[in-house]
Symmetry: C2
Subunit: 446 residues, 2 copies
């Protein structure tokens, strides 16, 4: 009970050296950063951003940092908020499958905005980014799934710790300051799953990035907090969860890396629908299916699918992302589930709506989260079956480098001129070689 | 179960008119604002503020708003953060005794900073301020004590709703926007009691003020959130509490006013120690007690006293505020419990420490929160007893206008020149007559 969880974690963060991080973990870090950047550029023109900027710009500080994919420049903390929102607004960013955390949003948004204010090398940025993901995901591991089940949006609640750790590492906090930074972060941990399907969902990782930066900056000035924010009886893991395992935070630090477990979405929606979409697209392509030929689509899915994405009659593109029914219908009709398949028009397309109403999903407890059984009954009586054991994008069936590039391009080229989008992509792949990591942000401006 | 709690509350906020607020409630509002202003001026030179400003000033926006008691001017949201911190840093601000919420901090800090950016009359400011307190305290009533018992610092967690409501009222949000503003606020609700005794405690009301403003500004731009942040199964009252009564939020809106139940502290520490201090000072003055004469001080107190303020050996002035032992010792020696009695030097004074070790406190369940039995045994064998039924500052024994003035003066004159402090005090009393409420902020600048 006298476990010093927070201090142990702070000590590890402060002592970590880039050279200690294995090459495959660094490589995962680079892929995560590239995937995040593509999502942030792609999401930057969303009206969620327009509204947030209209509301907050009059109060923003000096133009220290780039708003990715846009022409505005704001202070570091507003940049982190807005970039964090862009990167999550399509629900297309990375996923730590053990916790359903989207790791990069809170961390990359924080460190990149800070990099323009306090220059550092690309390798140092990558180091801070990986540290942040480790902290965020380890804290998530300690309280998942109980914490998530209560109703907390874990990307926001755990993300703020990771952002504080990453920026604290950049600022060179000592052990006591890092302990405080985690405390200041923890006491701002927030965000309800109730907000899913509204603009507040992408607000969560943005706010986590912004508040994480503030935590590190305050701690650097010796602004005090509890030294035991994680483990205290009135700290994070007790107040915000009904069960917890602190070993998940402190065990094998620097030996086992959560960053290497990060995954990237091929589809622009919640990860739990991916097996269903994957199965539908496979059957569509194998049999040249057309919507008109289909009498019925039956899914056997993990219970989380219905809990998270059970919207039967979504009204907007955003709501469509929380509908396994819409997603499968669009996947059959278009053979894809990118941003275009989640436009308001697509959700209201009578052809999509007709097929959507033919989708039925049944939950079974013994189905894995990345597994599905799809059965499509055709009007001519034929029955087509597909068992997806591991959806594309899962750890077992990861996206290839080519697929990551294609995803990045489809997102970034929608916003930036092609040659600039391509240059940004190449800069991300080579981020470890950059003398000034702020170049990444500047290259992402419109 | 189809209760529309959030929307009902939003509808009431939008429809409220100042003329509908009874005179005694407006009077309580003015007293609350004056008491808040005194605390904010008095606390403004605290090192908590110095450190926060050192950390955050480089990122602040245009100098739209006054930092109370200081020379800096920052954007509205940073001003709200910093003024909210100043007003709570001495733990000397107001208390809504039903919930132990300190109502004014999150609300006044938000509306006053906003008043400098978007001018309004003093009467309109008072109206928004009272609305904010109602929203904050009613939401607190709905989840207290379960929410507080879990470990949430209710001033921060409920305060953010009140700040959003108050600023939303100033901005003229419509019913849907007000519903969203409450949602955006709720998904930022945060703050652990674990932080008590550290600089993060006063950070909570400041952040609540700042985040409440952001919520209202975002909602004004139609930034969406859940429409059911309070009552949804994954909303505030379920996620952040183990029990709840939504009638506390919606019953008798506009008829029963929580603002009229606000109370003001005569002593610069947690309200639960006040009966003990009151009793000690009364015995001291009645018997001319000196520390050297005392063999033992025995207290019979409400259990919350030991839970919240049971620090036996505080090391700093801030920790002294969480020690009933230190507080009683200082009260006997100095006959007061203002900021001076909670200085680091006082806490480490051997004379205070010696007497502190002679204080014993026993909790009994049938003692009220504003009640205490004090028994002082003297070295000559005499035994002095005092039963305080209601501590000074309670609803039953409120501070007089004279006492409020004396408190304001002792705080404000420490920071502002006497004639400026006095002018500010008089301006607060007459706030309803001001054509431009921003004058209150400008008069509070150093």
């Amino acid at each position: 009970m006298s476990q010093e969880v927070t201090r142990t974690l702070a000590r590890w963060i402060v002592g970590s050296r880039l050279a200690d991080i294995p090459a495959d973990v660094r490589k995962s870090g680079v892929s995560s950063f590239l995937n995040w950047m593509g999502c942030a550029v792609g999401g930057s023109a969303h009206e969620t951003l327009d509204r947030a900027i209209a509301a907050l710009a009059p109060f923003a500080g000096p133009g220290q940092a780039t708003i990715i994919g846009r022409r505005e420049h704001f202070d570091v903390m507003h940049a982190a908020l807005l970039n964090g929102m862009s990167s999550h607004v399509f629900d297309f960013d990375d996923t730590h499958l053990k916790t359903i955390i989207h790791p990069a949003g809170p961390i990359a948004s924080a460190v990149l905005a800070m990099a323009e204010y306090q220059p550092l090398s690309g390798a140092e940025l990558l180091h801070a980014f990986i540290i942040g993901i480790e902290v965020e995901c380890r804290i998530g591991n300690a309280v998942y799934p109980a914490h998530y089940d209560i109703g907390w949006h874990i990307t926001g609640t755990a993300g703020v710790f990771g952002a504080a750790a990453a920026v604290g590492k950049m600022l060179g906090l000592d052990e006591q300051q890092m302990t405080w930074a985690l405390g200041i972060a923890g006491t701002q941990s927030a965000g309800f799953r109730e907000m899913f399907g509204t603009m507040c969902k992408s607000f969560h990782p943005g706010r986590a990035a912004q508040n994480g930066i503030a935590s590190a900056l305050l701690a650097k000035q010796n602004f005090t907090s509890s030294n035991r924010v994680l483990e205290a009886p009135r700290g994070f893991a007790h107040v915000m969860s009904v069960s917890r395992d602190f070993d998940e935070i402190t065990r094998d630090l620097g030996k086992v890396w959560e960053t290497a477990l990060n995954s990237y979405k091929p589809f622009a929606c919640g990860i739990v629908i991916h097996p269903s979409i994957d199965g539908c697209i496979q059957l569509r392509n194998e049999h040249g299916l057309k919507a008109e030929d289909i009498a019925k689509i039956d899914l056997i899915v993990d219970p989380l699918v219905l809990e998270l994405t059970g919207k039967k009659t979504p009204q907007t593109g955003l709501e469509g992302k929380f509908s396994v029914y819409h997603s499968c219908a669009a996947a059959i009709i278009y053979g894809a589930a990118g941003e275009n398949e989640y436009g308001d028009d697509t959700v209201r397309d009578p052809r999509v709506m007709t097929l959507r109403d033919k989708v039925e999903a049944v939950a079974k407890d013994d189905i894995n989260e990345d597994e599905v059984y799809v059965t499509i009954t055709l009007n001519d009586g034929r029955v087509l079956k597909k068992h997806v054991e591991h959806a594309i994008g899962s750890i077992e069936k990861p996206m290839s480098r080519e697929q990551l590039v294609a995803k990045f391009d489809s997102l970034a080229r929608d916003v930036l001129p092609v040659e600039r989008a391509d240059a940004l992509r190449e800069m991300c792949w080579k981020m470890e070689d950059l003398a000034d990591a702020g170049d990444l942000a500047r290259a992402a401006a419109l």
